[in-house]
């Protein structure tokens, strides 16, 4: 208790510098954890999607064409051509296979209360836009009726300028097996969705437990879904918003390959620079993806942050060492006074070491608090590796310990008292 009281009084001397050191160490802790967060952010998406189908891996591909970036992109006259080129490139690549399949929802006008509320009563169904290559790859089969033909993926109906167009024809759809007791092949539904408004005709039912992989990388069971052909529509020159949205979605699929995410990202980067849209697309989990905001890729960012963290650690260790050295030298007279009052050498030593421990504890608490806060607001579910923060602490702690010991060890108590203040 007494030592604690003395410690507080002792720490008050040069407390401003102590605060600077604490802030520095805490910053180093936060930065080293930030790299975990960034790596994690990239890696969460890199789930080993589904190994039941083959020996490759599925990698999601996404775009960063949102917000300001999208606004700039849209102003380009040929933005739709760029998207279509990108789509063709994705489909015709020998290093990976590309799948467009993506989960969605559609509204439909319920058959059950046919008549009275036909126009207003509607319901939501899970839907899955199946890409043209998905059927073969995921071995999707029907148990009744038939599956899509190649021509079903080319949709050339008359258009309006609005997205979600009313179409004259009937969109062929396949239903998950759960719907078998409700509908029959040949039934039609009135469905609407951003990409399609109109009649849909059931051409078949899937086998139970038919699966694919959704764009988040999880296995997706199709039993409860309405399966729609993810059609390509080249006829909509005048409906640019529609075409743009369609191809933005179609390009957010997944790559199937034996290569690593980084290798795939390299290829994507190369093609993007050819298209003049550097940084637009990223392969989930690739550390060399471009960070538009920071104008650098993830790998570099992690490296840079790591370097800064190490720099700050080095700086705070050196500052702490110098600070302790000077402070101990300046406190020698005070230690001497304490000695003639009954302090022994160990107590002096504890005082110095307790200060180091206090600095370290405060830094750790501050560092963890800020890391936790960043963790909270980042909406990322991952375990913060607080141990990473121990690296700067270990270095600074050792520095403090050595300085403290070195100074006190070789001193006679009697020579401390003869120091001038």
């Amino acid at each position: 208790m007494f030592l604690f009281n003395e410690l507080i009084i002792y720490m008050k001397k040069g407390f401003l510098i102590t605060c600077v050191i604490i802030t520095c160490i805490a910053t180093a802790i936060v930065l080293s954890n930030l790299t975990t967060l960034i790596v994690h952010e990239a890696e969460t998406d890199l789930q080993e999607y589904n190994e039941t189908y083959a020996d490759g891996k599925y990698y999601g591909i996404g775009d960063k064409l949102m917000g300001d970036v999208e606004d700039v992109f849209v102003k380009q006259d040929n933005c739709i051509d760029i998207l279509i080129n990108m789509n063709n490139w994705l489909h015709n690549n020998k290093y990976f296979k590309y799948f467009e399949g993506r989960a969605d929802q559609i509204s439909y006008i319920s058959n059950e209360i046919e008549g009275e509320f036909k126009d207003t009563y509607n319901d939501i169904l899970n839907a899955f836009w199946l890409g043209p290559d998905d059927i073969e790859h995921f071995e999707i089969k029907t148990c009744e009726g038939s599956i899509f033909k190649e021509t079903d993926f080319y949709h050339n109906k008359s258009l309006t300028n609005e997205p979600g167009r009313l179409c004259d024809g009937e969109l062929p759809i396949v239903m998950g097996c759960r719907f078998r007791n409700k509908y029959e092949v040949g039934d039609t539904l009135d469905i609407y969705n951003f990409f399609y408004v109109g009649k849909a005709k059931i051409i078949g039912f899937l086998e139970a437990n038919s699966k694919t992989v959704d764009s988040n990388g999880n296995i997706y069971v199709l039993d409860d879904s309405v399966i729609l052909p993810f059609f390509t529509d080249f006829s909509g020159e005048e409906s640019s918003i529609y075409m743009r949205c369609l191809f933005l979605q179609k390009n957010n699929g997944k790559l199937y390959s034996k290569l690593t995410a980084e290798d795939l990202q390299d290829m994507v980067n190369e093609y993007m620079s050819y298209l003049g849209i550097t940084g637009a697309y990223f392969v989930f989990g690739a550390k060399n993806q471009w960070q538009v905001v920071f104008a650098t890729n993830l790998d570099n960012m992690i490296n840079d942050i790591g370097k800064i963290a190490i720099g700050i650690t080095a700086f705070s260790s050196i500052t702490l060492a110098i600070f302790l050295f000077v402070k101990i030298k300046k406190s020698e007279r005070y230690f001497g006074i304490m000695a003639i009052n009954g302090f022994n050498k160990n107590q002096i030593r504890y005082l110095v070491l307790l200060e180091v421990l206090m600095i370290i504890t405060m830094s750790l608490v501050l560092g963890i608090a800020i890391t936790g806060l960043i963790h909270d607001i980042s909406y990322q579910e991952y375990d913060v590796n607080y141990l990473k923060g121990l690296f700067p602490l270990v270095i600074t702690g050792i520095a403090g310990f050595v300085i403290g010991e070195f100074n006190i060890e070789n001193q006679e108590l009697s020579s401390l008292i003869s120091r001038k203040e």
């Binding site: 007494f2 005070y334 001497g336 009052n341 009954g342 022994n344 006679e412 108590l413 009697s414």
Partner: protein, 220 residues
């Protein structure tokens, strides 16, 4: 004998060379004695006093307190001996300038884990003894040298040690203040404590029971 130092040797490294300052000095003090240690500068007076007080370790020799030998090789025994039996007074008072009189006197009491209420009783009593009653909240810088030394004496007395070791306690005081301090030490001595004073001042020495002279060793 209350305190005996027998055949004390102590050398320092001065300019890289080992120089013996004390070579086989013996010295003893009885309870209630007031002793002056004299000798020219550099003779080793302070060295001897510090060894007697346990804040400096002799290279060899014996330290006997109340017929118990204290193992000078053991830091722990020396620390304990110092805490139990020794009060120090030094030339420049050794007060902590940013703590008031009360807090300065409280330091040895806190180290000995004496509780708050007892502390304040002891402090006011010690201040009364040195004639500074009611000065608890004064800061050392606001006091004269004589007063500061009296605070230091109060602090040394607070833990009720048997031996008071004073290294030139009057060295930075004018004669009037020196007289006060000396009277005080005399009084302490009459209460049965042993007071050992290192001094250059013949006047001071003449008021002690006994004078011990240390010769400066001739150096090569």
């Amino acid at each position: 004998m209350l305190l005996e130092l027998i055949d004390i040797h102590k050398s320092y490294k001065i300019h890289g060379r080992k120089t013996e300052i004390l070579s086989g000095i013996s010295f003893s003090a009885e309870k209630g004695e007031m002793i002056a240690i004299m000798g020219e500068s550099g003779a080793g007076k302070s060295t001897l006093l510090n060894i007697a007080g346990g804040i400096l370790r002799a290279d060899s020799g014996k330290l006997i307190y109340d017929s118990d030998e204290i193992n000078i090789a053991s830091k722990k025994e020396l620390d304990l001996y110092r805490r139990e039996h020794i009060g120090f007074i030094v030339q420049d008072f050794a007060l902590i300038s940013d703590r008031d009189v009360e807090e300065n006197i409280a330091i040895p009491l806190r180290i000995r884990k004496i509780n708050r209420s007892q502390r304040s009783i002891i402090i006011s009593q010690a201040l009364m003894e040195v004639g500074l009653k009611g000065e608890e909240k004064t800061y050392p810088c606001m006091m004269s040298g004589g007063e500061q030394q009296r605070v230091a004496i109060a602090r040394a007395l607070a833990t009720d040690p048997d031996i008071i070791l004073a290294d030139e306690p009057t060295g930075s005081l004018d004669s009037e203040n020196a007289d006060n301090v000396l009277n005080l030490l005399r009084m302490v001595c009459e209460k049965g404590k042993t007071v050992i004073i290192v001094t250059h001042d013949k006047e001071v020495a003449s008021r002690c029971n006994r004078i011990v002279k240390i010769e400066r060793r001739r150096r090569d």
